[in-house]
Symmetry: C2
Subunit: 224 residues, 2 copies
Amino acid sequence: MSKPSKLSERRVQAVKTADAGAATSRRADRSAERRAAIVQAAMDEFIARGFAATRLDDIAKRAGVAKGTIYLHFKDKESMFEELIRTAIVPFVGRLAAPPPAGGSVRDMVEALARMFLQEVAGTRRGDLVRLIISEGPRFPAIADFYYREVVSRGLAAMRALIQIGIVSGEIREPKLVQHPQLMIAPMMVAVLWKSLFERHAPLDAEAMLQTHLDLIFGARRPT
Amino acid sequence: MSKPSKLSERRVQAVKTADAGAATSRRADRSAERRAAIVQAAMDEFIARGFAATRLDDIAKRAGVAKGTIYLHFKDKESMFEELIRTAIVPFVGRLAAPPPAGGSVRDMVEALARMFLQEVAGTRRGDLVRLIISEGPRFPAIADFYYREVVSRGLAAMRALIQIGIVSGEIREPKLVQHPQLMIAPMMVAVLWKSLFERHAPLDAEAMLQTHLDLIFGARRPT
DNA sequence: TTACATTGACTGACCAGTCAGTCATAATTG
DNA sequence: CAATTATGACTGACTGGTCAGTCAATGTAA
């Protein structure tokens, strides 16, 4: 690149005058906005049509941008798709690791996690994202790998830890459960797919199903 | 490919001899064979690549047939896909309805069903078919409808009936389960998807998981 | 020979990716 | 500060390749 000697001063000035502290020029702002629009539009299109059937022209139109602009931000359709999904997953990983909502009982903790999941994933765009990953996973091993590493294995590990605690404390009677944390997650998975595929055939009360599931694992709640 | 002049005589003879009486001409036979080859090839390609990314040229090549031949059997790519999936599902529906393997306990019946499912679906081409339906369902509502009507609703109804019996007989303690037969199926679903997506990251012992699942619902087995 | 099945070259629509040109903005100069 | 020049983000018409679907020619059974 070239000498950024005076440039930096200018920038600093602009910052001092115009904006609330971030060191961004107008151009960079606009560029970032556009990138965000493209990401949003691409997400919608890929979810609606899948990778192969999605046209970059449609993404561009939806983002209010010329097709060429897409190629200023992404190498090609394929890497755009992969980067997109990675980007969408990352913030969710934070959620998984961050809040160990230390309620009293293991059941309460599991319930809180599961509710959060149902709330924020099932029946939302994120749910469709899960379906998209299931769809395209085999053809994009990089994505399947990433998803396994960042979400599945972590999620299962967290669940396994909770189960372990539950077994030690006596809340969970079935010790083999620790070997199959997938069993804890399975109904949530089914809920996500159901909402995405069959909701209009037969609406699913995921909350009620969750309660029944928890009753199976922790024993039915004593009616207070 | 050279002149098969005598070959035809041969064939006719073969038919007269070997054929078990069905009134099929040589032509009809060949046509049926070809159709079967196309169906097989198309299934493989669609499973491997999804609808949009599958090329009819590839299907034709794999089936050992010219592309035009496909259009003698199917109207176009789309209806071919739909018909294909319908055809693949139908025989499986028979299985669902047919064998009420009247073992003694409900647990044994559920276990038999689940094992059959794991054996014949998880980790096989049929499992990939399930994944394919999940993938393309939203873009082929006709297929999602068909699948819901013929497989999902029937499967759940059958499971619900079993659960009802289990509750009445006291084998199942949780009465709410009858409202959520999906809970019975969920681990099987997860097993199918797991095999298809994550088997190479972490192999899943679906049989063991099933046992744990059944123990959760029916209570742990008394060690004999 | 007739009637039907099969073929594969061909067509036209479609679409990912390119690039020469435009123009708002940033930097420099007076 | 205004005038001038440089930059690079952005555009969209264009290209080359791909692929669903067609059909005239050819092969095969009846």
